[in-house]
Amino acid sequence: MKKILKKTKVGTGVWEYEIEAPLIAESNKPGQFIILRLHEKGERIPLTIADASVEKGTITIAAQSAGKTTTELNDKYGEEDYIHDLAGPLGNPSEIENYGNVVTIGGGVGIALIYPIAKALKEAGNHVTSIVGAQSAEKLFYEDKIGGVSDELIITTDDGSVGRKGFTSDAFEDVLNERTIHKSWAIGPVIMMKVCSEVASKYDTELIVSLNTIMVDGTGMCGGCRVEVGDKAKFACINGPEFKADRVDFDVLLQRNQTYVEEEKCALDRYLEEE
């Protein structure tokens, strides 16, 4: 059982939770995630560790209401409530070094997930350019927080309601046109990562993406999270979740994430009906 100490709404449909988990806080490194199960009948779902504080003994996660589990978490769980099961840190940490000039790109809920990486890269001495994107102004969140750990912040919205109009990938291309970038990270919807990957290939620069596959155990035991990387099957939970973008087959990822759409819809509809 893990206790929620603080719950904050950070964007449309996105909440942030500070959870008491001292040992995870101590072991966590940027890029890692946890798996939680809300209750006895719950599903195990992966969520990135968006922040951690060793002093407070807490980790922070951010969840976007997507289907049944995330909606139930965001609707029903608040301060002082307990999450039945929470295991982590899982996955391999991001490779943080002083590379020189780096770009970190976050789209949608990925904005929360790129934060710990941007912060660590900044602390390692990099010149960090962060690009955060959302559909519109009210869906944007965390921009100040990311701005605080970046040398430069670029905001994009699909409708131009704040920042520049367009996608994160457009802004990424502009940055690549301007100066030499030594390494970049992109986390967000699969489509965003795919397009960013195409941009990176065009400029022959290394891009790392964090793959949000379907997972069960998160420890390498089921293979449900497998993705095609460099024409080989890799398990996102233990070989990743970060991979070099140019080696990832995003179409297979998109396809595999479709496996349970009907069931996911059924579970969400049933949940919403009951409420």
């Binding site: 890692q32 719950g42 599903e43 069960v216 035991m221 089921c222 293979g223 449900g224 095609e228 349970y260």
Partner: protein, 478 residues
């Protein structure tokens, strides 16, 4: 005295009925049936059956107790060497172990040792088994990594010896393969939950959701870094890493590892979706690749989830199938189709979803390194089998996480941890046993390894922790 040649049959759920539910298939012996079966035993001395049991249960003695209606005596005898008789009585490959050696079996049916063992365990459960008392307390703290049969056994034995014991398990529910792999209709999870509860009442700490190697390492446990310091560590992390064949189309939707499929159903209770949140998808035709217990379990599970046709595709013939005879028999009764001497070549999909398996016919050649005839593809014999789901039950190997994150722990090329006959690894203070040492094997072997290691850990702690002592003189000093 008349010799009863045939085993007393065990009542079973009717195949037509059971293929629609997840309830247990064999229903167990009644008291009368158990006594009647026990009466068939010749009470041999020496008793060859004992040598067939990896933990050397005193079989004639426990059977004699059943005969004399001293069921407490029977369970006590079994529990001297076997902590989980309710489990082994159900899932041991008895026909290749104790029962294979049974004298009666030379001419007639062997004694149904497993069924009698299950009966004794069930009797104890009905009585409301008492939690074993842990009276003394011994200096020393032991950490157990993994809560499969090897870990649970080591934990229980060490606790009874008086040590402080903590079990660390990565899943939210302890039990290892017994809870996430073996289906309800063969081994209800309740039974394992009950055993874990007993352990906890005895004072063993069971830490769930704890991934050793990520949250902390084995070195941390020995050094008291981040966590309490432990004197000794037992590794029973199993062989849970699923294999795939690397064939074209293997990442199509609808293709599962048996681990994923069974975990969704058994551990996450997907058979009760949407009451439980975890889904599993089963179409009309399901093909399971493989010929072991895991394959039988997967195919039979698919049937219970509503598949109209559930098929086994295996590259050798039935004779070479590693699954227990009883499981093959049960699968057949339930209407599983066997496509033998067939090997998949690729998976064909439509819009990302698997639709067909292309197989090639095989013939048997000379024996290979496993001693079984080598299957050889017959060129040009390829054809397609329609399938909406494919379950890969072709084997697993040990997970590299713990070995990779522990300093000085040697593994061999199969990924298993090197350990001696007492379970001692190449790292001081660390023991290992079960599938992590042997590769995928059996419940009783894993239990046996847990027992042996517990004894050796006790000896080591009692002798002042000399890794190099008269007990292990052939070891290098550190």
């Amino acid at each position: 005295m008349d010799i009863k040649e045939d085993q007393i049959p065990m009542r079973e759920q009717d195949p037509g009925e059971r293929r629609k539910n997840f309830k247990e298939v064999p229903l167990g012996y009644s008291k009368e049936e158990a006594i009647e079966e026990a009466n068939r035993c010749l009470q041999c001395d020496p008793a060859p059956c004992i040598t067939g049991c990896p933990v050397e249960i005193n079989i004639p003695e426990f059977i004699r107790h059943i005969r004399e209606e001293d069921f407490q005596g029977a369970i006590d005898t079994i529990k001297e060497t076997n902590n989980l008789p309710a489990v082994t009585g159900r899932v041991c490959p008895q026909e290749e172990q104790c029962q294979e050696k049974c004298v009666m079996g030379r001419k007639w049916d062997p004694i149904a040792i497993g069924r009698l063992e299950r009966f004794a365990a069930e009797w104890e459960r009905d009585q409301g088994a008492e939690t074993p008392k842990v009276e003394k307390s011994t200096e020393g703290k032991v950490a157990i990594v993994g809560s499969g049969p090897s870990g649970l056994t080591a934990a229980s034995d060490l606790k009874k010896m008086g040590y402080e014991v903590t079990v660390f398990e990565q899943f939210h529910q302890p039990g290892g393969v017994l809870v996430y792999g073996i289906p309800e209709f063969r081994l209800p999870n309740d039974i394992v939950d009950g055993e874990v509860e007993t352990l906890e009442t005895m004072g063993v700490e069971v830490e769930r959701n704890t991934v050793v190697g990520r949250l902390f390492t084995v070195d941390d446990l020995l050094e008291g870094n981040k966590v309490d310091e432990y004197d000794a560590v037992f590794l029973g992390t199993g062989a849970g890493l699923p294999w795939f064949l690397g064939l074209p189309g293997e990442n199509l939707n609808g293709i599962y590892s048996a681990n994923e499929f069974l975990t969704r159903v058994n551990l996450m209770k997907a058979f009760k979706f949407p009451e439980y949140d975890t889904p599993v998808k089963v179409g009309k035709r399901v093909a399971t690749i493989g010929g072991g217990n895991v394959a039988m379990d997967s195919a039979r599970t698919a049937l219970r989830l509503g598949a109209e046709k559930s098929m086994i595709i295996y590259r050798r013939s039935e004779e070479q199938m590693p699954a227990r005879d009883e499981e093959i028999e049960h699968a057949k009764q339930e209407g599983i189709e066997f496509h033998l001497l067939r090997n998949p070549k690729r998976f064909i999909g439509d819009d990302g979803q698997v639709k067909k398996v292309e197989v090639v016919k095989m013939e048997l050649g000379e024996p290979d390194s496993s001693g079984r005839p080598r299957p050889i593809p017959i060129e040009g014999s390829e054809y397609e089998i329609p399938a909406d789901d494919v379950i890969m039950a072709i084997g697993t190997s040990p997970h590299p996480l713990v070995p990779r994150t522990t300093s000085g722990l040697e593994t061999n090329d199969r990924g298993t941890i090197n350990a001696d006959e007492n379970g001692r690894t190449t790292k001081r203070g660390v023991w290992a046993g079960g599938d992590i040492v042997t590769g995928a094997a059996t419940v009783i072997k894993a239990m046996g390894a847990g027992k042996t290691a517990a004894k050796d850990i006790d000896r080591w702690l009692a002798n002042g922790k000399g890794w190099r002592s008269d007990l292990d003189e052939d070891r290098e000093d550190e």
